[in-house]
Assembly symmetry: C2
Homo-oligomer: 202 residues x 2
């Protein structure tokens, strides 16, 4: 059974973006430090058409969700960012965007199509599942979208890359009062980051 997995980098103090974020500076002040570890990884670089990078536990952890994903769900704000990534975004698969905006699907080079879903997370997931077939569905953020999926009980797994920084302020992954049962499934200790995989109880 394909899984629905959210994956995100979070600071030790719980932030997934720094303070004063904007479309020009989407991950806020200091927030780029959340992603320093991943842009160095060979797996991430390959998906983004870049050469080189580090191999090892962190590269594998960065690839684990990605390699089994058949469709991706994004919040509107994450899409606004992704739209800035040019003609050939790295997804190379169907992407479903949660938005109030009515808009025709957007077909990009390299296999990425953006489909705009106006009727909520359940319906977006339905479409993503159909597109993913036997592969997993990734909920790629942002925080609000991931929290919506957790609240709705639609998430099977949560992969957190816990980054050893204290951002002090910004956007929290867990800002809403969400309680659900989870269990720790796997811990991968790489030199820079702790990769934590949790499973939601059914």
């Amino acid at each position: 059974m394909p899984r629905v997995i959210a994956e995100i980098s979070m600071s030790l103090d719980g932030f997934i973006a720094g303070p004063n974020d904007s479309l020009e500076h989407p991950i806020g002040e200091g927030g780029d430090r959340l992603h320093e570890w991943v842009v160095k990884q060979a797996s991430w670089r390959e998906h983004h058409g870049l050469e080189g990078g580090e191999t090892g536990a962190a590269s594998e952890a960065a690839d684990e969700v990605w390699k089994n994903t058949g469709a991706t769900i994004l919040g509107k704000r994450m899409f606004d960012l992704a739209e800035g990534w040019g003609d050939e975004p790295p997804f190379r698969r169907p992407v479903f965007v949660l938005t109030h905006e009515k808009r025709e699907p957007l077909v990009k080079k390299g296999g990425t199509t953006f489909t705009f879903v106006n009727d909520g997370v359940e319906r977006a997931l339905e479409q993503a599942r159909a597109a993913a077939g036997d592969n997993d569905v990734a909920v790629a953020g942002g925080a609000n979208t991931i929290q919506q999926f957790i609240k709705a009980g639609l998430l099977d797994e949560l992969q957190i890359h816990l980054v050893p920084i204290l951002l002090g302020d910004g956007k929290r992954l867990f800002s809403q009062s969400t309680t659900r049962e989870i269990e720790l499934q796997k811990v991968v200790d790489s030199p820079d980051v702790t990769h934590l995989r949790y499973r939601f109880a059914k």
Copy 2:
């Protein structure tokens, strides 16, 4: 050089106590789940005069700070709780309590003495260091006290026992806007909890 170490159990969503905490119910609703893992450990049980318990990685992780600690610092509220632990509290060492209350030292059975410090974290640490000698000083909470030590740059290490629960609400360990440089020092993966040790940059 003896270290100054804070140790605390935190939920994945960043809480060290559940909502609606009170002196009668100090760790708030659901907050007891943060400590379920530790009360099962043989090391913890031994310190508390109890028999049995589990041995292994979690028991060792629960003991790591404790066994090298020569003096403990508590916030006033934590002391109010500790005072309820009876004539022979488990510390068995000098304990320094941050409080505005002027009060004579309180000597308990088994080696625990409570000394009340009215002039801030630096002075409390000075006294605790003197009492600890070659051993470490533990900052045992609560969250506010730990944050004060982080802000003042007085903490050398932070040991977080990351518990796979979502409390949804309550008291956050990182509620204040504190930024300091940390590095990941050690990860211990026990079945129930992830034990994360961070070192503060000097």
